[in-house]
Symmetry: C2
Subunit: 319 residues, 2 copies
């Protein structure tokens, strides 16, 4: 496990900005002013304040959700009922039964806009009754914010390893959370398919199936209510809610807007230059298609070593 870093709100704003803008490493920022949500957002309060607004949530009998080989279903529930189902048991059990014997269902809610295809999520708009309780951390520039996502989860629930293309902070409001992050430099050890990893649970990895995983260096962050975790764009992350958990996470444009996919409402579509680069490589591979297969393979390796060479040069520049 690699070292983690904790800043405090009474550290200078320059220090926080230095981490975000220059160091570009994850860190916990503690004691931020994030509003009354820290004391108010108990399950009963949230249920009664939001009421029966229907929400689409993830439901599973597994406590480690997989996106790539889905082991959950989407169900639509009134928000109050979802909160009741998600909060009715602690990590140890529901009180009515002895933990593992329980026919427990795990729930996870990631808020999306009503018009999810065109509009990024913003809980301040979609949950107006909760909005006054939350304050965006002062080190973020409001005009750069892309989305502001409410997330609620059952206790003991882990969520798939993935990355986003935007910087974000996770404001942990209620419950404890364990965050496992990986540097994008380790991506080649993490068996990615798109923005998600084929590795189901980075705390329990089958090394026969995923032998390269031993080379990946996890950064582990233990979050308490009120903690703010900075997750730089492209850092892979796996999140385990240890208790019933409520969080708000705020994505922002850390690069010029025109670099992002303009239709992306989640923050996980690749940057535009990569789209064009990937098309270029696809076309390059297509050029070789008329050749005998052994010559194609020979030239594919030569193309690959062009990229290896560029990686070597860029490592020297970034070192």
């Amino acid at each position: 496990m690699s070292q983690t870093s904790v800043l405090r709100s009474n550290d200078s704003r320059e220090l926080v900005e230095d981490w975000i803008l220059n160091l570009r490493k994850p860190c916990i920022i503690r004691d931020c002013a994030v509003g009354e949500c820290l004391t108010k957002w108990k399950p009963d309060y949230m249920a009664s304040t939001v009421g029966h607004k229907p929400v689409s949530v993830h439901e599973s009998s597994s406590n480690r959700l997989r996106f790539l080989k889905k082991n959950f279903t989407y169900v639509v529930l009134p928000f109050a009922e979802f909160i009741q189902k998600a909060s009715c048991f602690s990590r140890a059990g529901c009180g009515d039964c002895a933990g593992d014997d329980c026919d427990r269902r795990y729930y996870y809610y990631r808020a999306v806009a009503d018009d999810v295809r065109n509009t990024p999520s913003d809980f301040r708009r979609d949950f107006p009754s909760l909005s006054p309780d939350f304050t965006v951390p002062s080190f973020l520039q409001p005009e750069k914010i892309f989305s502001c996502v409410l997330r609620c989860s059952s206790a003991d629930l882990g969520l798939w390893l993935h990355y986003d293309v935007l910087d974000n902070v996770l404001v942990q409001v209620r419950g404890r959370k364990r965050a496992i992050l990986f540097n994008p430099e380790d991506a080649e050890y993490l068996y990615l398919s798109g923005d998600k990893s084929l590795i189901h649970d980075p705390e329990n990895v089958d090394l026969e199936e995923f032998p390269l995983f031993v080379k990946a260096r996890p950064y582990v962050y233990q979050l308490e209510p009120g903690d703010v975790l900075f997750i730089p764009a492209f850092w892979l992350h796996y999140m385990i809610s240890e208790d019933f958990s409520v969080a708000v996470n705020i994505f922002w444009y850390n690069l010029p807007r025109e670099l992002y996919d303009q239709k992306d409402t989640y923050g996980n579509k690749e940057l535009q230059p990569y789209f064009r680069a990937a098309q270029g490589v696809d076309r390059a591979l297509k050029q070789l298609e008329g050749l005998p297969i052994d010559i194609q393979r020979f030239y594919m390796r030569m193309l690959r070593s062009k990229i290896d060479k560029a990686l070597g040069l860029s490592r020297d520049r970034s070192a």
Copy 2:
């Protein structure tokens, strides 16, 4: 050392063609009818027949010629004088001295056309007095021949590891030769720079400098006068003349002509589709240049895994 294969001229033409067209593996074809050169081309005969035509030859104090870090010079000599210098000593020494004490110079001649920039070599045109002594092996189609190159070498001289983009046969006319070949699938273990390897002598490799070389599987062929070695396009080859050595090697178009670089007179310029593919990859890498270096590197690896994926698929197809 991997297995080698020897065919004989009284094997059916179909068998030879099957190796060349379908198996695409190197082989020795023995007892081919290649003309009176086998008995006639002794040094004195060649010198007196060709006379004093000036030729540009490689001269070195080393018996292992390097192209990439050149350890030879080009000198222009009358052909008869070159033949005398190249043939005056055997592997053991020149007779006048005790081998290694000798201030020996090694010579190598690779015939080129007078107009080398525009015309491939053809010794049948440029050495008309030798031409009647040589017969092109009957399994080759005359209309596909690209070049027909006379090569003469001192005893004990090794020549750089490289590949050509055309199929070719080496007709060993005089002296013995040792040929060390590598499958193009092993190219990634051979430290190529363009069509040539940085490995100076594959029989004496510094494994600290070239650790991957241990994974490469050499195919070793021991050629006697009269032997014809088929070297498929892209197979890497290193040649050691054990005696004063004369050979003719014939390159031919094994793919449609438009795939080749039309300005190539040596047979070692990459095929046209690769030029276009390489440009495509260069442009793809350029697309990423505006991004921060860590994101560039992340996306370069994604581009590389696109190629890895294509290599995986093509391996399945070729298996």
